[in-house]
């Protein structure tokens, strides 16, 4: 079979369009899934997707044909290019048309795509079997999922650009319940490589949490002093990032819109000292240093494929600095060109210590595990609803003293960044709600003095 680089060359040589962009992604992934102390499903999958963006100049502007197909042979790629060229000729001028990015071959272009296989799970599976054994003798049940993925992207344009990025991603989540299913606990972690996970450590933390659940305390709905661990903070911060489109804000559709018109860029939206940023070069959290877009939307444009991505402050010292834009929407809105990056870091200046330190300093507070089923209720305030899940713990005198029922919350992550009363150091986190799709985050634990628990959920 031809190499990815050869397929890219076939595409660029066969196009009859005025310009052409090719994005080829080879993915290799393997997973294990378990429930009730036994493996349930598994899989090993390979994929090869090629996106061709053909650009045809016309009197009224450039039009694009954008087509993604699974393709592994030269003839499949030629057929794909022909279809994209034809689509471009039939298309209306694209609103987001812009010059195709020019450049040269970057170092590393010639390297083979990364690859994984089920064999990387050999040690993990054996440790998991041991954890099942302990769970069986301790009368509790384990449920979970682990995945290793390596995706390698080759991006090329008819103006000479050749870029390659290899993205390894691994994540694990384990839920534990006593045999009577009366409570639930969860641990999760993301990394670049599955070898970073210790089943023994994860299992020990899960057992500690299940012990916390042995004493149950019923509490009513209300506003509570609440400690959000880094996972729950990531659950909320990622949503704010999802709605950070510059165009949507400019057109009066998001929390980042100024009610009097335009955006809130330049305004104070969080406490001084709060920084929300992305950095594709952050060690351990590395993401693609160039833009890839296989479709256009309000935040990104296919014409921008190959633009360099760099560290970007979204909020600095509590002030909104930037929103996600393409070259087209930057011009439309008067904002700077700041495309979104595939990682997110939230930090508070001077904050130190861990979630355990926040627990240790609380007289009476709730300690959450994670949040779930988060949906937008009001875009103008970014009021989100959702639920606590897999462990709400009562803290008294600096110690966890029992497990509380779950709650439905109604809160805005932007409001919380103005209301928190304590924060810890920002650490690598794994969002329960979004981590499977957005695994690269660093977030601090936060203490909120009046978190709005709107009603009780009977879920256990």
């Amino acid at each position: 079979m031809p190499t990815p680089q050869a397929l890219v060359d076939v595409a660029l040589e066969s196009t009859s369009a005025d310009q052409c962009i090719v994005v080829l992604t080879e993915s290799s992934t393997a997973n294990l899934r378990w429930a009730n102390n036994t493996l349930t499903t598994n899989g090993a999958m390979t994929g090869s997707h090629v996106t061709v963006i053909s650009v045809v100049d016309g009197a009224a502007g450039a039009a694009a044909g954008v087509l993604t197909r699974a393709a592994t042979t030269s003839s499949q790629v030629e057929a794909l290019v022909a279809a994209a060229d034809e689509a471009a000729r039939a298309a209306a001028p694209a609103d987001d048309a812009a010059e195709v990015v020019a450049g040269e071959q970057a170092p590393g272009w010639a390297a083979d795509p990364g690859h994984t296989s089920i064999e990387v799970f050999t040690d993990f599976a054996s440790d998991l079997g041991a954890a099942f054994g302990r769970a069986n003798s301790d009368a509790h049940l384990l449920y979970g999922y682990v995945e290793q993925d390596i995706s390698t992207t080759y991006l090329a344009t008819s103006r000479g650009l050749r870029l390659r990025h290899e993205q390894p991603t691994s994540h694990v989540g384990i839920t534990g319940k006593p045999a009577d299913l009366s409570t639930s606990a969860w641990v999760g972690q993301a990394a670049e490589d599955i070898s970073d996970f210790s089943v023994g450590d994860l299992d020990a933390e899960l057992v500690r949490r299940m012990r916390w659940g042995q004493r149950k305390v019923d509490l009513p709905a209300g506003r509570y002093d609440t400690i959000l661990p880094p996972t729950a903070v990531a659950d909320l911060a990622i949503y704010a990032y999802f709605v950070s489109s510059g165009r949507d804000a400019h057109e009066g559709q998001t929390v980042f819109s100024d009610p009097q018109g335009g955006t809130r860029v330049g305004q104070q939206v969080a406490k001084p000292g709060v920084r929300l940023h992305s950095d594709p070069h952050r060690p351990g959290l590395t993401s693609s240093p160039f833009l890839t877009a296989t479709s256009s939307d309000s935040t990104q444009s296919v014409f921008d494929n190959g633009l360099p991505l760099d560290a970007t402050d979204w909020i600095a010292d509590g002030r909104l600095q930037a929103l996600g834009t393409s070259r087209h929407t930057a011009e439309l809105t008067g904002l700077g060109l700041t495309p979104l990056v595939d990682n997110l870091l939230l930090g508070v200046d001077g904050a130190a210590g861990s979630v355990d330190d926040l627990v240790g300093s609380a007289d009476r507070a709730l300690l959450l595990t994670c949040l779930w089923y988060i949906r937008e209720v009001d875009p103008q305030t970014l009021l989100l609803t959702g639920l606590t899940r897999d462990g709400v713990y009562l803290v008294e005198g600096g110690e966890v003293v029992g497990a509380v029922n779950n709650f439905r919350f109604n809160e805005s992550p932007i409001d919380l960044l103005s209301r928190f009363s304590g924060a810890g150091e920002s650490v690598r986190s794994f969002s329960r709600e979004w981590g499977d799709y957005f695994p690269r985050t660093m977030t601090p634990p936060l203490r909120i003095p009046d978190f709005n628990m709107s009603s009780v959920s009977q879920a256990s």
Binding site: N31, T38, A70
Partner: protein, 504 residues
């Protein structure tokens, strides 16, 4: 050009049988108790316009195959994309290796509920015009014209318009001898108008309530939907919403339109009666269910007028198909009868595990790269027998709200506590509609909510709604599903004011 309602000749030209036979033979070589081979082509096209200008016309065209084996009572699954016999052999061997890695930590022996063998069956969904045969410029021109109609209204600042289209081909062959070839077409058009009231400092939007459907492009030409009325009314609804008073939080009687109630059915009944959730298989992700198997036949799900069915057979339903991804012929069955839980949604493995007899055909994989799991059927609330209209339901309410269109949705991991908003909430006073209110959300616990349903609309109020984007499983899979329902009335439901929930 392929004629409508025949399987796409491009798909039939793929080496379906040769590759299938290769996988099944390799499975036999390893003494697999069961082998199945699934080759899929999934075409997608999304058109998006903002203020009438095209911003996205991207297409996807994914072809690939998957092999699933049961060896020594353990599943093994692998998938690939290159359509050659060598690759099918490699992937089948990989599935066998997966089963071997899984075996030492698998304690449940996988067995499948028995199912008749179906040889060389073909099934094609009900549609007239394949949207992939309609020129893109024609489709864009229609959406642009619709956008312009909305933009012409003074209350409308911006308009977005989109249509997602999917063509799904599946070839399935298993070691028992079943071979099926199927084609489904579905599409989802959507329009949304945005407006602002700068004096009050608020903005809002109003989205079309047209359901996604298993139909062809004829749907946008008016087959099964009155676009003209919706386009005419949408800007007026937006203008009224922007000027509407904020709701007072409290207890209200609700009359819920099918355009909103379908999603409440989806979340609080559809997911809660998935047997894999009830058995804990989704505990680490989508969650479990309060409706556990020990309560089958006794759980009072709702009031006596509640009759909920599951089906994968209703024309134009998004979950409708001839044969599922376990090779089971699809069916219709009762889930809640006279208010009591009487059935689950199953696949062959779980039906056998629970001794439920034959699977009711809910196995589905969303792409060639994913393993089939139990997914949702069209779960629908049946109408009452009488000619009860929406106006009749409203006439029986002194202090209430009439809820139209879905918007925000959220429910807990065991499907007890939910909260929904809508496109528009109309006040009901003394049996009559009294204009829109803003900022409302309804919140309830599943069995309380369905227990409070005191009247169900008749067949004339029944509409099939649904979604393209139901999420479940790890790795994540997305499934299309429809829910039919009549309008219905619910007593004493908690209404929140979302502005005061936000502490403002």
């Amino acid at each position: 050009m392929p004629t409508s309602r025949a399987v796409d000749p491009e798909f039939l030209a793929l080496p379906l049988k040769r590759l299938g036979d290769t996988a099944l033979q390799r499975g036999r070589d390893f003494h697999a108790e069961h082998t199945d081979f699934r080759l899929e082509r999934l075409r997608t096209q999304r058109l998006t316009l903002r203020d009438g200008a095209l911003i996205d016309a991207s297409e996807g065209d994914e072809t690939g195959f998957a092999v699933r084996v049961i060896i020594d009572g353990t599943w093994g699954f692998a998938a690939g994309v290159a359509l050659t016999t060598d690759e099918v052999v490699r992937v089948t061997e990989q599935a066998v290796r997966m089963a071997m890695v899984a075996k030492p930590i698998s304690t449940e022996r996988i067995e499948l509920a028995t199912e008749p063998v179906y040889r060389d069956k073909t099934w094609v969904s009900a549609y007239e015009v394949n949207p992939f045969e309609v020129p893109v410029p024609d489709k864009v021109a229609l959406l642009a014209q619709w956008s312009e109609r909305l933009s012409a209204h003074a209350a409308v600042d911006h308009v977005s318009a989109s249509v997602n289209q999917v063509s799904e081909n599946k070839y399935y062959a298993d070691s028992a001898g079943t071979t099926t070839t199927q084609q489904r077409i579905r599409l989802h058009p959507s329009l949304e108008a945005y407006g602002t009231d700068r004096e009050r400092g608020i903005f809002d939007s109003m989205r079309s309530t047209a359901p996604p459907v298993g139909r062809g492009w004829e749907y946008l030409d008016g087959a099964g939907y009155d676009w003209d009325s919706e386009l005419a009314a949408l800007p007026e609804h937006l203008a009224e919403k922007l000027a509407a008073p904020s709701v007072s939080a409290g207890s209200y009687d609700l009359v819920i339109d099918p355009s909103n109630l379908w999603l409440t059915i989806h979340e609080s009944i559809g997911h809660a009666t998935e047997l894999d959730r009830a058995l804990g298989y989704e505990a680490n992700y989508a969650g479990t269910s309060f409706a556990t198997p020990d309560r089958l036949g006794t759980l009072h799900y709702g009031s006596g007028g509640m009759h909920v069915t599951g089906d994968r057979t209703f024309d134009h339903g998004l979950a409708t198909v001839g044969y599922d991804d376990d090779g089971v012929a699809t069916q219709q069955w009762d889930i809640v009868k006279d208010g009591v839980l009487v059935g689950y949604q199953t696949d062959r493995r779980m039906a056998a595990l629970m001794g439920l007899g034959r699977s009711n055909g809910c196995a589905f994989a969303d792409s060639p790269g994913h393993i089939p799991i139990q997914r949702m059927a069209n779960v629908s609330l049946q109408p009452s027998a009488g000619a009860v209209s929406t106006a009749d339901l409203i006439a029986g309410v002194d202090h209430g709200l009439y809820v139209v269109g879905d918007k925000s949705w959220s429910i807990d991991m065991q499907r007890y506590n939910f909260q929904f908003t809508g496109q528009r909430f109309f006040a009901i006073r003394d049996g009559k509609l009294a204009g829109q209110v803003r900022d409302a959300a309804y919140q309830a616990t599943t069995t309380d909510f369905w227990g409070s349903m005191d009247a169900v609309g008749g067949p004339d109020t029944w509409v099939l709604h649904g979604a393209f984007n139901c999420g479940k499983a790890q790795p994540g899979q997305v499934a299309p599903v429809s829910h039919g329902c009549p309008a219905a009335r619910f007593r004493d439901i908690r209404i929140l004011n979302t502005t005061s929930e936000a502490g403002r």
